[in-house]
């Protein structure tokens, strides 16, 4: 049974009396498995109150088993929809506590990084590092243990582009970057190895890399497929004529297809899925394509489910098994702003970044209405949220001049 983080006193008491107090309450006649069964009927408030009854019950009611079902129904508690525990090292009760802060919108806001010139930064998180694009570089910073601040000096600087880095991803200790110079850069993280090659005739707006394959999308109205293999970098495998500027791109977890989110300036869907091996169109998503409804961010949540957002101010959840013509659920940005970026906890939480006033919104995917909105800038410096990333404790938002953090662990 996992114990909650307790004071030293409790640890000592635990060592003194490993068993329940022997005599007294009739309740103790029941073996632990039956006490667990009784507790399984209690909600988190009742469990919380039971934990204040006595030392033994405090320890007993913190057991992971009792909190698992509650956590799976909570926001951002480290469980996927299918019940996989992504954070086995943290007691579930603690995660449910922090989850309440996400649900109630209780957080503390701070600025992690500032820069002087207006940027359109992109971000990735890996382990305890944050990677962020700044002009034509990608910088790596290390988080301090609290996750709410960074070590001032960057761990690494990755150069190589002649114009701004538009987008980048991390894959097997490499950074794959897409630049306004039409080039793709491949940088090995813990070394000085860097290669860049010409990929497109105009800005490369998006890139993804999985299973040794790179896909890139560009303003030049093509998407291209490349190998990530040292001898063959830059040897294009397929060029797909999307006939539309490609804003966002993602490879399926099955590695056999990829989706493009395009500007929607033609008479076809801005969301299309292509076969990775042949470069052929497999299907398009949706059936109503108002002009200009470009898709700025798209991601696979699982091999069959996707989330997309963009200029038409909606986030949409697609399930390829049920229908490609109609999305399963959609959420509307209530202030009619374009949605630049989205993230999910893989379960019930959705976070979006809007185009005005740095508004970050939190959504419970089981409801239509937005849960909370955090405007991170005020006039006159209205800025879009260009990129969002989240952990179970923090949300990071990159705007024109600042990288903001919302701390849900210590509100």
């Amino acid at each position: 049974m996992a114990a909650a983080a307790g004071e030293e006193e409790e640890e000592e008491a635990a060592r003194e009396s490993a068993a329940r107090p022997a005599a007294g309450p009739a309740l103790w006649r029941l073996p632990e498995e039956l006490l667990l069964l009784i507790c399984s009927y209690l909600d988190m408030r009742a469990l919380g109150r039971l934990a204040q009854v006595c030392r033994w019950l405090r320890r007993f009611t913190s057991c992971d088993l009792l909190w698992r079902r509650i956590a799976r129904a909570s926001l951002n508690s480290g469980f996927t929809r299918l019940g996989t525990d992504l954070m086995t090292s943290v007691p579930v009760k603690e995660r449910v506590k922090v989850s309440q802060n996400w649900r109630l919108g209780r957080c503390r806001e701070a600025i992690l990084l500032k820069w002087r010139c207006s940027q359109m930064p992109w971000m990735q998180l890996e382990d305890d590092s944050l990677y962020i694009s700044q002009a034509n570089f990608v910088l790596a910073y290390q988080f301090r243990p609290d996750g709410a601040s960074l070590n001032r000096r960057p761990l690494g600087v990755f150069a190589g582009h002649d114009e701004d880095v538009c987008h980048f991803v991390l894959a097997n200790s490499h950074i794959i970057s897409a630049g306004g110079d039409g080039k793709i850069g491949v940088h090995k993280i813990h070394s000085t190895f860097t290669v860049k090659y010409s990929a497109h005739e105009q800005e490369v707006n998006c890139v993804d890399c999985k299973g040794g394959i790179i896909v890139s999308g560009s303003r030049d109205r093509t998407a291209k497929v490349w190998p990530l293999a040292s001898g063959r970098l830059g040897q294009c495998l397929h060029t797909i004529q999307t006939e539309d500027r490609v804003w966002s791109i993602a490879i399926s977890p099955l590695l056999s297809s990829f989706v493009t989110g395009t500007a929607c300036c033609g008479h076809f869907s801005p969301l299309r899925i292509w076969d990775l091996n042949s470069g052929q169109l497999m299907t398009h998503l949706g059936s109503d394509f108002p002009p200009g409804a470009g898709v700025l961010d798209v991601m696979y949540e699982s091999p069959f489910t996707l989330l997309s957002c963009g200029y038409d101010t909606y986030v949409r959840y697609w399930d390829l098994r049920t229908s490609v013509r109609k999305c399963v659920m959609e959420w509307e940005e209530p202030h009619d702003s374009t949605l630049y970026c989205l993230q999910t906890d893989g379960n019930h939480l959705l976070a979006t970044g809007s185009s005005y006033y740095g508004v970050v919104r939190l959504w419970d995917r089981r409801q239509r209405a937005c849960l909370h909105a955090f405007p991170l800038t005020s006039t006159p410096l209205s800025s879009p949220v260009y990129c969002l990333r989240l952990t179970t404790k923090h949300l990071y938002a990159a705007l024109s001049y600042n990288l903001h953090v919302l701390d849900f662990q210590n509100p």
């Binding site: 004071e7 006193e9 008491a13 107090p21 007294g24 309450p25 009739a26 309740l27 006649r29 029941l30 039956l34 069964l37 009784i38 507790c39 399984s40 009927y41 209690l42 909600d43 988190m44 408030r45 009742a46 469990l47 919380g48 109150r49 039971l50 204040q52 009854v53 006595c54 030392r55 019950l57 405090r58 079902r69 799976r72 129904a73 019940g83 449910v96 506590k97 309440q100």
Partner: protein, 155 residues
């Protein structure tokens, strides 16, 4: 109607309709292990972990519920509700705590899931909506936590 003889821990023998107890995997297993059949053998089946008084109550509950199907498997993710206890069951469970807990133990031992569910729900209802002090009082538990009661983090 075939009946079966069951013997409680104190030695008292109960003759019970087979229909009533056949949902109990424990009793079924006992019958198989001891090589007994529904008809024929007259020897009572010993149940060393059930005392007479509690056993009587269990039989009373099972007799009332004999036409009810066994409760369905619970979906692990769905919230477990504690409402929906029938009026008859509520009256039946108006007993002292000691008896209630003995019923839980007996239902567990004899594997009568319906009775186990309703008794556990009852105890859960005794905890819900009570403050820690009230819980201490209800169950006669001594509060040995240091300092004043901390504010509940789960509002």
């Amino acid at each position: 109607m075939p009946s079966i003889k069951l013997q409680s821990s104190g030695g008292e023998i109960f003759e019970v309709d087979v229909e009533i107890v056949k949902q109990s995997v424990t009793i079924k297993t006992m019958l198989e292990d001891l090589g007994m059949h529904d008809e024929g053998d007259d020897d009572p089946v010993p149940l060393p972990n059930a005392n007479a008084a509690i056993f009587k109550k269990v039989i009373q509950w099972r007799t009332h519920h004999k036409d009810n199907p066994p409760p369905p498997e619970v979906d692990e993710d769905k919230e477990k509700r504690t409402d929906g206890i029938s009026v008859w069951d509520q009256e039946f469970l108006k007993v002292d705590q000691g008896t209630l807990f003995e019923l839980i133990l007996a239902a567990n031992y004899l594997d009568f899931k319906g009775l186990l569910d309703v008794t556990c729900k009852s105890v859960a209802n005794m905890v819900k909506r009570k403050t820690p002090e009230e819980i201490c009082k209800t169950f006669n538990i001594k509060n040995d936590l240091p300092g004043p009661c901390a504010v509940c983090s789960f509002k």
